[in-house]
Symmetry: C2
Subunit: 725 residues, 2 copies
């Protein structure tokens, strides 16, 4: 280790101020000391195997590799992760890499993320017995091919066909158009041996809808493509470049009839099509993936925030407009920086606890589905959809803001931040585009309000819509006002929830009112209770924005509720009536563990900054109806100022609590020790020769380094200058 220097001393000093032991927080987050250590041991094994443990050395990934180098490195780390899971029997890297990219950053990542769950959830027992052992032994490499060049979130638009040939008892998988080319799946380019291909099942000219088919892509001996299949890499993206996201064109590819995955439907040899009883099970894979994404983006945001807070602790810049100051300030001392980073830290923790709540309700659902009970499905589907949209938006915007907090160095790949931002960037799109996701939640919401208006019961998770006093359906100004009268009132979780419930309820009823008004005033048959669907579709489109706002307000309430209920030990104030988690279908039986007080302060900061921060999406909705007054927002802002002061001592500890290894952050500016500048210059100088040195490990070709200037002079600069003499 380098000798202590000014930055390391600043870091030590700041860390010593903490009011709690960050290690204890780590144990709480990851399920205890033992589980934490098991987890950390896995990271350490991987980091050692990949040669990235020594953070004084430039990581190969930052050496400016070409496309092939990126891919070969992805294969190397993907194999290391898979081998470790098989050898040590764990699932730590089932949905994220050793650097917390979604696991499809590994060319082998679809095995655990979507290919595997599909083989487990959507197969017949015989199919399961055949395929799952092959998968678990790593003998086949899978991908999940759904999206097409011309078709994404809207599944019914997919064009690929699988037509039953009764003569040969085969399905013929075919890409009938340019737009039906499968495009995007990770590992589809070169890596996958098999793909679950979503295609229109056609029997005797009749289309039975989208179904999953197992298609072998490559000969396992020499990996040559099977007849009729063309695949390739789709090139460079903003992130996830370590995998071969690819395309595939199928030209009358023949597979056995029994390669239709028959967990939900069946096709007999004579062409009989049988709908399964548990058709909705197909949703389970989708919700599983969304749940995993929700989990992972919270970690990614946390990584960005940890890097930015550490850097801001040791980066000194300016003297705060004080002409008499003699030393520069660490940038964390500036209010705007402090405010941004702590708000983001609060959001990262909020996503963590919301994700845990999401998994809880997902598990409840799967248990009920197994028993044939579908009643929770609409609520869980609506919740995972909106939470996927919300969490990916918050994480993606937040990581970019954390990156900007690091100024110039945040723009350099050496900071680790561009990778996090780039790997997060597709999340608002994949597995359901966010604006579509919000609308699915809004649809569920509108149905709930129709039921409420008819006096019918609704799911517990949205019952607050019926009980919140502000549920006026009128479009005119509401007369409700936030009852908080002193700054301390805003510290009360119940007051916070009340403010969020008011907003969500008002926006939901208003959107419902708009829909109803538009459809009933444009149709002559005013008495008809359910308006013609075509008019409804028009009205929906006209009022799409208020509908999205309503869904977003609901899920923000869900997130706050989850944060509160997961961190509030049982106390007199959490009586059933003022239960802080009105969304969860059944209250969690066990009382949450005792978190450090600073985490609860951070939770308050989360709630209050969502209200008062002019940059918080939709904060306008707390104010536009006059519910929160100017006096109150001044009071909230003063309170936020106090909270920030209070949290100042614990900024680092709250980051350290996530328990990220230096290597997993991959950041020259975000390591534990604070030795930013020596590491940046070490890595920068490493660019010259780093490729040769690291090339053997990751497989990069790299010969660019130190000679690129020489070749630039020989090829362009020299001739140019000589030509001008």
């Amino acid at each position: 280790m380098a000798a202590p220097n000014r930055q390391m001393a600043l870091m030590d000093k700041a860390r010593a101020c903490a009011t709690f032991n960050s290690r204890e927080l780590t144990y709480l987050l990851y399920g205890g000391k033992e589980a934490t250590e098991r987890r950390e041991a896995a990271f350490t094994r991987i980091e050692d195997a990949l040669g990235v443990s020594d953070t004084r050395k430039l990581p190969l990934a930052y050496a400016g590799q070409d496309r092939e180098g990126q891919y070969l490195q992805g294969l190397a780390f993907g194999k290391a992760l898979m081998d470790d899971e098989i050898k040590h029997r764990h699932g730590i890297f089932d949905y994220h890499s050793h650097r917390f990219a979604l696991i499809i950053a590994s060319p082998f990542g679809h095995n655990p993320l979507m290919f595997g769950p599909t083989l487990r959830l959507q197969t017949s027992p015989e199919q399961r017995d055949y395929w799952v052992p092959l998968l678990e032994a790593g003998k086949i490499i899978g991908t999940y091919a759904q999206t097409e060049l011309g078709h994404g979130t809207f599944l019914r638009g997919l064009e690929t066909t699988a037509t039953l040939d009764l003569d040969t008892d085969e399905f013929v998988v075919h890409s009938p158009t340019l737009t039906s080319t499968k495009y995007w799946p990770s590992a589809l380019g070169f890596t996958a041996s098999h793909a679950v291909v979503m295609a229109n099942l056609v029997i005797r000219g009749k289309n039975h809808g989208m179904q999953p088919f197992m298609v072998q892509l490559r000969n396992l001996d020499d990996y040559s493509l099977m007849p009729g299949i063309e695949t390739g890499d789709i090139g460079v993206k903003m992130g996830l470049n370590s995998t071969d996201m690819g395309y595939a064109v199928f030209t009358n590819v023949r597979i056995p009839r029994t390669n239709l995955l028959m967990g939900n439907v069946q096709v007999l040899q004579d062409g009989t099509f049988i709908k399964g009883k548990h058709q909705k099970m197909a949703y389970a894979t989708m919700m599983y993936t969304r749940d995993r994404i929700v989990h992972n983006v919270g970690f990614q945001l946390a990584q960005a925030v940890v890097i930015a807070t550490r850097y801001s602790t040791v980066r000194e810049q300016g003297i705060g407009f004080s002409p008499t100051a003699t030393a520069e300030w660490p940038i964390m001392a500036y209010k705007s920086q402090h405010y941004r980073l702590l708000s983001l830290m609060a959001q990262a923790y909020a996503l963590f606890f919301a994700a845990a709540e999401c998994t809880t309700i997902y598990n409840q659902l799967t248990a009920q589905l197994a028993a044939g009970d579908l009643s929770l499905l609409p609520y869980v589907h609506a919740t995972t959809a909106a939470l996927k949209a919300y969490s990916t938006q918050v994480a993606s915007d937040g990581a970019e803001d954390a990156r900007k907090c690091c100024g110039g160095l945040g723009y350099s790949i050496l900071s680790g931040l561009p990778s996090i931002v780039g790997d997060l960037a597709p999340m608002p799109t994949l597995e359901g585009e966010n604006h579509v996701m919000y609308q699915q939640t809004a649809r569920y919401f509108m149905k709930a309000i129709t039921r409420i208006k008819a006096g019918l019961p609704v799911d517990d998770g949205v019952s607050y819509l019926a009980t919140t006093p502000t549920s006026s359906s009128s479009s005119s100004a509401s007369t409700a006002h936030c009852p908080a009268s002193s700054p301390s009132d805003f510290l009360n979780p119940e007051t916070q929830l009340q403010i969020f419930r008011h907003r969500a309820t008002r926006l939901a009823f208003y959107a419902h009112h708009l829909l109803l008004t538009t459809t009933t005033t444009t149709t002559p048959t005013q008495q008809q209770p359910s308006p013609p669907t075509i008019l409804y579709a028009q009205a929906w489109n006209t009022h799409m924005l208020p509908l999205i706002h309503a869904a977003r307000a609901h899920i923000e309430l869900f997130v706050l509720s989850a944060f509160i209920s997961s961190t509030t030990p049982s106390s007199p104030q959490s009586s059933p009536q003022s239960s802080p988690s009105p969304q969860s279908p059944s209250p969690s039986p066990s009382s949450p563990p005792t978190y450090p007080p600073s985490l609860l302060t951070l939770r308050t900061l989360f709630a209050l900054t969502l209200i008062e921060n002019p940059l918080s999406p939709s904060s306008i909705h707390f104010f536009e109806d006059g519910y929160v007054s100017l006096e109150q927002v001044y009071s909230i802002r003063a309170t936020v100022g106090d909270l920030l002061k209070e949290l100042g001592r614990d900024v680092l500890a709250l980051g350290d609590g996530w328990g990220f290894s230096d290597a997993c952050l991959g950041s020259a500016i975000g390591c534990w020790d604070g030795d930013v500048y020596a590491r940046v210059m070490g890595w920068t100088r490493g660019l010259r020769g780093g490729e040769e040195e690291g090339g053997g490990k990751g497989g990069g070709k790299g010969e660019s380094g130190g000679d690129m200037g020489k070749r630039g002079f020989e090829k362009v600069i020299g001739p140019m200058l000589r030509g001008r003499l």
Copy 2:
């Protein structure tokens, strides 16, 4: 050209709906038909020279090059741009590349952007006569080395020294610490022969502050580094990878005394230091660069929006929740998409006109400075600082939103959007970090309010602060209300300006009030008119957020005013009293040209969405004091709905009006003809062999393409699978 297909037909049909000729709009934007054609001819020459005119062919830049390939390509296009400017005597590429990246994306870009202006503005006449001809003939290649590893926006923190050696009549340029390493300048790695180095001028132990020194980095014959100089590339960034952003360490590098650029200061042979009369001229270079950045980011946002609107016209997805629909909808038909893209289009035009206004006042300033009149300096400095912050934030966030509007393909480099987003990403940081910029404006603002309270006059640009009736200094709820009573009132530019003036005035007075209260209540000498600076600095930090909000509100008013005044033909309603441009120091004498009515509708959309969009930064401030009521915001939202409908026919024409060539967009999904899918698949397939074909032109080494899968199998997948049999 490919035969017309469905997408191309959709594009033709949508384009045919336009209410105006987009070509006429292009002429208006670029100063007439002739100027437009001259400009387009330059782009065509460059595109031909670089082999990118045929947009059926994969651009080399997207072929997954390694770091050296990226740099060699940068040299190639940089040389083409420079040669064209010299040969055809124009300055079209003085601040942006042929793809509208800031010109430092070219390794030769500092010549026109900062190196050149410094040689013109900060030299003595003799120095100018010596250096400028060398520069103009392209015989020296310059960079501007200011930022250091440990120091950015805060100039006084820079550590590099230039110490006068009286014995040899030389300056000794030195990097005394690790943190003083020059870091970031484009071309510093390998390309630049000379650098203007900002360093502390030290004479006989006395520091005379930061001054510019000309340092020769390399021997012009073989380009070997001069003694005592170490430089290198700093590696991959989120964007701008075609240049060798670099670092430099100086170890006692000797330069002649006369290499101090002596436009503002002088050092005589005996060590006498003479301050110049026009010291503030140093600001001129800085303001020039900021003005250029403001101009350019508007174009970059426009590029992203043009790509996204074209793609959204031909991309069909879903059936809008209508179970009876038979065809999918183009995604532009969805209200949320339509709303986002038109809002962004409005912002791009707003930046265009605001940038033009910025140049106008910058030119007024330089004319006055030349005459020794410094009176405009504070206002222009404050305006360019906030406008730099505002425009880079709007453009960077907006381009990313436009990218997200394109879903999956927006994530692929083939869409052209990642490059735009990546090249924009550093703009909020460089040439003055945005949060610091806003505070500089806020400082000017607070001084103006102190003057207003003392009954003293202020600059015309902020005189509205004195005349807006809502200028209450109290912290309690304002009683002012927006006077608009009917939806049509909101169409009136004067109403719009009044709403923005109210917000800016309220926030400015409130921030001033906070500053004053904090400093006077914590100091015992309440009578003292100017509070002690140390307390003031503390108060400033405490209230930094309201101060930044005030500056932002002011500059948003400036932008709206500029948009209105630049597009409103003289009419009875624009009497001096209701002048739409209260900021511009003197009203522009010539009446603006007549723009298509749709552009004026778009301007209204700009004003109204800033108010009502829950995602608009700071929209909360229109509501928190009750100035805009719920009824009014419902009315504004209904009006926005009408405007969107009205603009539907012209979305493409408003984009076409920018006059971007297909090649400059570099997008498989954003070309004029709408042939998205064929181009995406053509480029994707081009990845296999494209490098060999294109390699000769740009100089990329490229051999990654089609064999990367083969090597992946040989190195990793094959052995892995065989090991598991």
